[in-house]
């Protein structure tokens, strides 16, 4: 077992390095679940008669089934329909980032080399990273379970709920262990894992949308795609209703297999390298590369392609489901009616899907803009600003790429949804026109979040990554998908740019909100620019 020598010491190192990050993730998720559970608990304690009809709304509505799996009228289950997907994605990302941080990133930065020069085995860092991520997920499971109990839910269901969310984190610990071997960069490893997460979400969402509803309209039985996804496996534990443990019999062996694969792969490759061979490249830069804009585009193109493929897939699926929405009846109609006024169910469905896509694109923009900070902290910026490129031009290169990328992605989604939606319902051309309009009105809100992130990067460079993600999560939760049902106060909802996005194509687009968002975006951008011009660069010492 020499390959694992020194693992214990590396576990301690990793725990020490993560002493703030992992508790922040775990406590944040716990606090979110406790707060929302307590809120729904109190709401349905006051109006117990509403629980069944509310449950029916989310059961009968395929669009709502995307978010989660419902099993009977339970406050805990209803809360999880709102929270579980987000928590599962967060648990997966926590695990992926932890594993990559202690494996591929350490290699990329040359730290692994220093460690391996000691009495440290070939697999020790991988093993230590996996142990730390698994431990984080166990703590997460316990904390989430405890939180739901504290918020007044039955013990058995609460424990299952915590385990079901942590099981997704555990499965993605295995996924990240493999992707960290495949890609030679931390960014690439995280990207591959995120792609797997997107696929897992798509499969679970598809399985639930295409699932069957029982006669009381209180329970969904998922279709087969859900059974191919770790997110789906977690949902099949059906907390607060069936309380099943056996789906863990899918995710835990899958994790073990993935870990085994990662060890085999790690044994076959050199430190610091991926499994793909290193190819030669062009001896000269093309004119397209030789500008700040071109450089950013080049750095970003693989990521953008990945996002485009993802949004294309989601667009095709959600468009095809338009036919089901049209056939919708019963209580689910009310939800869409609330969303889209009286402009018809389909319009409201498209509006809500477009807004979800808008938020996803906003996440892409945030990842892109955070590279500004990465360039600065890693020292690439030093070489660029040593030439005749001004700080503002550098910032501008990112802004242009963000704008073009966001426009492209949202239009890809709209096109995909229009094509399959048109196939299902007819009238492709006019549908595409409507959806393009609805896509473009997302941009001012995306831009506003992006400009706020730029302000964070320029004002508080060292804290900008964490703060930017916190801000992003907040704006999404205070936005139209979650905000109103979370009972947040209006002023808080108004702080999210997504709250102000018009419900196109369901409703006519007002000029007011677009102008307001555009102005806010511009003001933030100007603030960011003037801050960047004034401050010192935080280059590596």
């Amino acid at each position: 077992m020499n390959g694992f020598a020194g693992t214990g010491r590396l576990v301690r190192l990793a725990l020490w390095r993560d002493r703030l990050v992992i508790p922040a993730w775990v406590l944040g998720m716990g606090a979110f679940l406790v707060a929302t559970t307590a809120m729904f608990q109190e709401q349905y304690a006051r109006h117990p008669a509403l629980l069944e009809p509310d449950t029916r709304i989310v059961v009968e509505n395929p669009g709502m089934r995307v978010l989660g799996l419902v099993t009977g009228p339970h406050v805990g289950g209803y809360t999880l329909h709102r929270d579980a997907l987000v928590l599962a994605v967060l648990a997966a990302m926590m695990s992926v980032l932890a594993v990559v941080r202690h494996t591929r990133q350490a290699e990329e930065l040359g730290r692994e080399e220093m460690l391996r020069a000691g009495a440290v085995g070939r697999y020790s860092s991988l093993m230590a990273a996996v142990i730390v991520a698994l431990a984080a997920n166990l703590v997460l499971a316990a904390l989430l379970g405890l939180g739901m109990v504290v918020a007044g839910q039955p013990v058995a269901g609460s424990v299952i709920a915590g385990a079901s969310i942590a099981s997704v984190g555990i499965a993605f610990t295995g996924v990240a262990a493999v992707t960290a071997q495949l890609s030679s960069t931390a960014r690439g490893a995280t990207g591959l894992s995120s792609a797997a997460l997107g696929l897992a979400f798509l499969l679970a969402a598809l399985g639930n949308m295409l699932g069957t509803v029982d006669s009381a309209a209180l329970r969904v039985t998922s279709a087969w795609p859900a059974w191919l996804s770790p997110i789906g496996w977690g949902q099949q534990m059906r907390p607060f209703a069936d309380n099943l443990w056996w789906p863990l019999g899918l995710s835990l062996p899958a994790t073990t297999v993935l870990f085994g694969m990662s060890v085999v792969l790690a044994g076959r490759r050199d430190v610091g390298r991926g499994l793909l061979p290193e190819r030669r490249g062009a001896p000269h830069a093309t004119p397209a590369l030789s500008s700040p804009i071109g450089l950013v585009r080049r750095q970003q193109r693989a990521v953008l392609l990945g996002w485009a493929i993802g949004l294309l897939g989601f667009g095709l699926v959600f468009g095809a489901l338009s036919a089901q929405i049209e056939g919708l009846e019963g209580e689910a109609t009310e939800w869409y009616a609330a969303f889209g006024g009286d402009a018809g169910l389909l319009g409201a469905y498209w509006a809500s899907m477009m807004q979800i896509a808008g938020m996803a694109v906003a996440v892409y923009v945030v990842t892109l803009l955070l590279r500004l900070h990465h360039d600065e902290a890693q020292g690439m910026l030093e070489s660029v600003l040593g030439t005749a490129v001004s700080r503002l031009r550098w910032l501008g290169a990112y802004a242009v790429n963000a704008l073009v990328g966001a426009t492209l992605l949202i239009l890809v989604f709209a096109t995909a949804m229009g094509v399959t939606g048109g196939q299902a319902l007819g009238g492709t051309v006019s549908l595409l026109r409507d959806l393009f309009g609805a896509a473009l009105v997302q941009l001012p809100a995306i831009g506003t979040l992006g400009a706020a992130v730029v302000v964070l990067i320029t004002a508080l460079p060292r804290w900008s990554v964490g703060l930017s993600w916190a801000l992003t999560v907040f704006t999404i939760f205070a936005g139209p998908m979650f905000g109103p049902s979370l009972d947040l106060p209006t002023w808080l909802l108004d702080l999210s740019p997504f709250t102000h996005v018009p419900n196109a194509p369901a409703e006519a687009v007002g000029v007011g909100p677009i102008l307001g968002l555009g102005l806010t975006c511009a003001l933030l951008a100007v603030a960011g620019m003037s801050l960047l011009r004034r401050r010192n660069l935080t280059l590596p010492a």
């Binding site: 001896p283 000269h284 080049r298 020292g379 030439t387």
Partner: protein, 324 residues
């Protein structure tokens, strides 16, 4: 007050300076002052060595010269401009090799060289090819696949491919093999012959001695010394080894003598500049049989300026300064 000081300085500065720094202060926090009233002048057309122990403030100074850090106090002028305000215009006229070369791992060396050249406002294609040849650099490899020395060469070729007035080089040869080191020295000599100005921060004393017209030694954020090598030598102790007929037992008590070691009629010690004559008067009385005096070696010179209190006499087994 500031305005008055500034006027005086401007009168003193000759026109032909590439870089002028006076009274430069840079703080990184309430109690961490990186530069403390630093003065530095690089004349047009000279190669100026910039030396000092680790953490002395060399990289910080160069980043202020590039407008990446803002001076907290003092006056800085690069090619007649203000590096903070006129950064872009000035950067068209200078090239920079950073101390730590961090480039984009997924670009090839050739792409990075072209990119940086274009961003500076264009590079000379012939020069680029000639430099690739001389430095034996393969431009088709990805940056992440280069060895440390080859990554350093990418930065050097990128900087030298542009014909500019001023080159700012921060430890430019770290990681180069001796052959490449000599190619680097040749290129710098050629640039100097062509009248270009160069600020060269380095820990390699032989390189500094071979290339630099003048040097500035910085210590704890202040210029400890500045001048040509000869000037610096005059400021430093001379080593003396002497045999006398009368045992030189009182050597250690003479004015200006340090590190004296006496063995029978043999003595080794070092003498402060300006005290040599006084020591000779003493020695005459002891009837000198043989005597060797030697100027300080480079290592001794720097060791003294880098902050060691005592400078051991020659041959005492002192370590050579090779801190990097």
């Amino acid at each position: 007050m500031r305005a008055a000081v500034k006027l005086v300085i401007e009168e003193v500065i000759p026109v032909a300076t590439a870089i002028t720094i006076s009274g430069l202060v840079k703080d990184f926090g309430p109690r961490s002052r990186a530069l403390d009233a630093l003065n530095l002048q690089v004349r047009t057309g000279e190669v100026h060595g910039f030396l000092g122990p680790n953490g002395a403030g060399k990289t910080t100074t160069i980043r202020v010269l590039l407008g990446m850090l803002r001076a907290d106090a003092g006056r800085v002028s690069v090619l007649g401009g203000d590096p903070w305000r006129d950064a872009v215009a000035l950067h068209r006229r200078l090239a920079y090799v950073p101390g730590e070369v961090n480039l984009w791992p997924n670009l090839t060396g050739g792409e990075a060289i072209d990119l940086l050249g274009d961003l500076r406002g264009g590079l000379d294609a012939d020069r680029r090819e000639a430099l690739l040849e001389r430095f034996q650099l393969d431009p088709t490899k990805k940056i992440r696949a280069y060895s440390k020395g080859n990554r350093q060469k990418v930065a050097l070729v990128a900087a030298f491919s542009s014909d500019v007035e001023l080159y700012l080089l921060d430890e430019p040869t770290s990681g180069l093999d001796p052959l490449m080191e000599s190619v680097f020295q040749d290129v710098v000599q050629e640039l100097r012959a062509a009248g270009r100005s160069i600020l060269l921060s380095s820990h390699i004393l032989s390189e500094v001695e071979a290339l630099c017209d003048r040097v500035t030694i910085i210590r704890a954020g202040r210029a400890a010394e500045s001048g040509t090598f000869d000037e610096l030598r005059h400021l430093t102790r001379t080593s003396v080894v002497v045999d006398t007929a009368v045992p030189p037992t009182s050597v250690a008590r003479w004015r200006g003598v340090h590190d004296a070691r006496v063995h029978d009629s043999h003595a080794e010690f070092s003498v402060d500049p300006g005290e040599l004559n006084n020591v000779l008067e003493h020695l005459v009385g002891l009837q000198v049989r043989s005597m060797i005096t030697s100027p300080p070696t480079l290592e001794e010179l720097f060791k003294r300026h880098y902050g060691e209190d005592t400078v051991p006499a020659r041959g005492s087994g002192a370590e050579v300064v090779t801190s990097r």
